[in-house]
């Protein structure tokens, strides 16, 4: 009954097709869209969320969820900007601090998840509040300044390609390798697909979950570096709302919240669908109130088109 068009859209590659259609639409109807400048902007704007969403994809595949990443990103932005104070000599320290802090908080999430056995949504929701408190213990206003290297990481280009995109590709490839080519990756899928069976098969499920949270935390660290570079300063509310955007992108990209399956490529495509949509709505001079409405519709329609065909009987 379905036309080939709808069935293509609702296939596994639906989100990528949707991205193609959005870009095609933009090229035809929005003259300013295709300029190198504008395309570079979209790439730079979308990279932090894409990296954050890749980490979120991993925790969601493991059957978990991590709401704390938004505030974690905010904390990292504040701390590394304050560490650097514009000094290039502190760049490496700041990178290590971002990754360490991200991984560390991720590990705490994982340990608490195993120890307390409460739903990860509640756990990380509580953690979100704690991290937000920590940010404001640290500062109630923008602090510090990033080094010029950080600015370049977020805004600069290498032979015309934004460095942020190179970083995104590196993170995507590394995570894909981890997920599809390593034992840990296989275990993450197994735990998400059914924890009890995974345990019976001899997988140390607790340890796998800790690793999933660590990956999510580290991704918040990398995304935080880019956001800090973009803002130039440690703005305490920099991470507000990022966690939800990330989760929306993950699910739009075809990863099931039930765990056990998912796609890094889909997640990245979904981030760019949202980024391109936001860009063309701005360029088409749609009123900001209508923009909110349209963005919501895009999410609803995309999720309707992108649904799995049948529930796999458990």
């Amino acid at each position: 009954m379905r036309s080939p068009f709808t069935s293509l859209l609702s296939s596994k590659y639906g989100i990528i097709v949707l991205l193609g259609l959005t870009v095609l639409f933009a090229f035809i109807f929005v003259p300013e869209f295709g300029t190198v400048n504008n395309l570079t902007n979209i790439a730079i704007q979308s990279a932090p969320l894409a990296i954050l969403a890749i980490g979120q994809t991993v925790v969601i595949i493991a059957g978990l969820i991590d709401l704390s990443v938004g505030m974690l990103l905010g904390l990292i932005v504040v701390i590394i900007a304050d560490l650097m104070q514009g000094e290039s000599s502190m760049t490496v320290v700041a990178i290590l601090a971002a990754l360490g802090l991200g991984g560390g908080v991720g590990m705490i999430n994982g340990l608490l998840n195993n120890l307390l056995r409460i739903h990860p949504l509640i756990l990380t929701f509580g953690m979100l509040s704690i991290l937000q408190g920590l940010i404001f213990v640290y500062t109630d206003r923008s602090v510090g300044q990033v080094s010029s290297e950080f600015s370049w990481m977020a805004n600069g280009t290498v032979i015309g390609v934004p460095f942020a995109i190179i970083l995104l590709m590196f993170v995507a490839l590394l995570t894909s390798f981890l997920l599809y080519k390593t034992r840990l990756g296989a275990h993450i899928f197994a735990v998400g697909g059914g924890e009890e069976q995974a345990r019976r098969a001899g997988i140390m499920t607790g340890r796998v979950k800790i690793w999933a949270f660590i990956i999510s935390g580290v991704s918040a660290g990398v995304a935080g570096m880019l956001v800090a570079g973009r803002l130039g300063t440690g703005y305490p509310n920099a991470g507000v709302g990022y966690e939800l955007d990330a989760i929306v992108a993950v699910v739009l990209g075809g990863t099931s919240l039930a765990g056990g399956r998912g796609s890094i490529l889909g997640t990245i495509a979904a981030v760019f669908v949202l980024g391109v949509a936001s860009n063309i709505l701005n360029l088409m001079e749609i009123s900001s109130f209508v923009q909110i409405f349209v963005k919501g519709l895009i999410v609803v329609i995309a999720i309707l088109l992108n649904q799995p065909k049948r529930i796999i009987a458990s």
């Binding site: 608490l112 307390l116 056995r117 409460i118 739903h119 949504l121 509640i122 756990l123 929701f125 509580g126 953690m127 979100l128 509040s129 704690i130 991290l131 937000q132 408190g133 920590l134 940010i135 404001f136 213990v137 109630d140 939800l244 989760i247 929306v248 699910v251 739009l252 099931s256 919240l257 009123s287 900001s288 109130f289 209508v290 923009q291 909110i292 409405f293 349209v294 963005k295 919501g296 519709l297 895009i298 999410v299 609803v300 999720i303 309707l304 649904q307 799995p308 065909k309 049948r310 529930i311 009987a313």
Partner: protein, 325 residues
């Protein structure tokens, strides 16, 4: 003799544990309340206690509806946006006239139920994640509210409306607090007695089996979400009654307070378990936690940390009591 006494004590202990474990969230609430009362005698003053009940009304009322869809195995994140929309809508339709109250309230409730009905229909007839669908719907509704209002909460509340809901019966119990408690009791009662609610549990614990046994799963799903939207609208009206309307984003973020309460109250994402009673207790746990850190006089940042810690600790305590059984 002493053996028998020992056995009896054991028996009593078991009984207490059994009671405690099946009412874990109430035990947590009682403990938290006791701590609160020790730290501040405010929690022993009836007027303040009913202030807390009134503060709880918007989130509490919305949480009743969300509990129902979560028992079903769904979730509704659009309630925050529905609260914003209906608070603004009600005030605009009232336009400062007493005569407009019935129309305003009816239209707001219908709008809420309608949005819920759309959520339910899309979810019932598609295999999509209710989490993301309702999140998307929240954005749609927020956009609608902004377009409709032009960015300012431009309504005028009818005279007497807020005064009625904030009137204290016997100088102590505000009508709004009483309304909330009434709705909560009604919810608990319906949950125990109606076939609809029994079906919610059946579908939530095993959707395939429910479908095979001939339950009208789709109809029940739509109805449950519509109810959630309706309760969201009531929550919006409650918010308007409690503190007037001063923004088109009055309900922003409340969906997460609601979600935290429902889960803390023992209703899980998987569905089939939990209930309205637990949710109500959890609403109070979260609210008292916030008020307590506020009253004890912690800084804003410390408030956030303690609030987060309490959410985690209270959930853990709940799991602990459950396990003892």
């Amino acid at each position: 003799m002493s053996d028998r006494m020992g056995a009896e004590i054991d028996g009593v202990q078991t009984k207490i544990w059994r009671w405690a474990s099946s009412n874990a969230i109430w035990v947590v609430l009682a403990l938290l309340f006791a701590i609160a009362a020790l730290l501040s005698d405010a929690f022993l003053r009836p007027v303040y206690i009913f202030n807390v009940v009134r503060q709880a009304a918007p989130v509490g009322i919305a949480a009743i509806g969300v509990t129902l869809v979560m028992i079903l195995g769904g979730v509704d994140l659009s309630v925050g946006a529905v609260i914003s929309l209906t608070a603004v809508l009600t005030a605009v339709l009232m336009d400062g006239q007493v005569a407009n109250i019935p129309l305003a309230v009816t239209v707001a409730l219908a709008a809420g139920a309608c949005i819920g009905g759309i959520n339910g229909t899309l979810i019932a007839y598609n295999r999509i994640s209710p989490f993301i669908l309702t999140l998307g719907m929240a954005v749609v509704v927020t956009g609608m509210t902004q377009i409709y209002s032009g960015g300012t909460a431009r309504g005028i509340v009818s005279p007497g409306f807020r005064e009625f809901f904030n009137y204290r019966i016997g100088g102590i119990v505000p009508v709004l607090a009483l309304t909330f408690l009434g709705l909560a009791l009604l919810g608990v009662r319906l949950q125990q007695t109606t076939k609809f609610c029994r079906n919610l549990y059946l579908i939530g614990s095993n959707p395939q089996a429910a479908e095979l046994s001939g339950l009208p799963v789709k109809r029940i799903t739509i109805f449950a979400y519509a109810l959630s939207g309706l309760m969201g609208a009531m929550a919006g009206i409650a918010l308007l009654a409690r503190s007037g309307v001063s923004s088109t984003f009055a309900g922003r973020g409340l969906e997460f307070d609601v979600l935290a309460a429902v889960i803390l109250g023992g209703t899980t994402f998987q569905g089939g378990r939990g209930g309205i009673g637990g949710t109500i207790a959890a609403v109070f746990v979260l609210l008292i936690a916030f008020n307590l850190v506020n009253i004890v006089g912690l800084d804003y940042n410390a408030q956030l940390i303690v609030k987060g810690a309490i959410i985690i600790i209270a959930s853990s305590a709940y799991i602990y009591f459950k396990k003892v059984r």
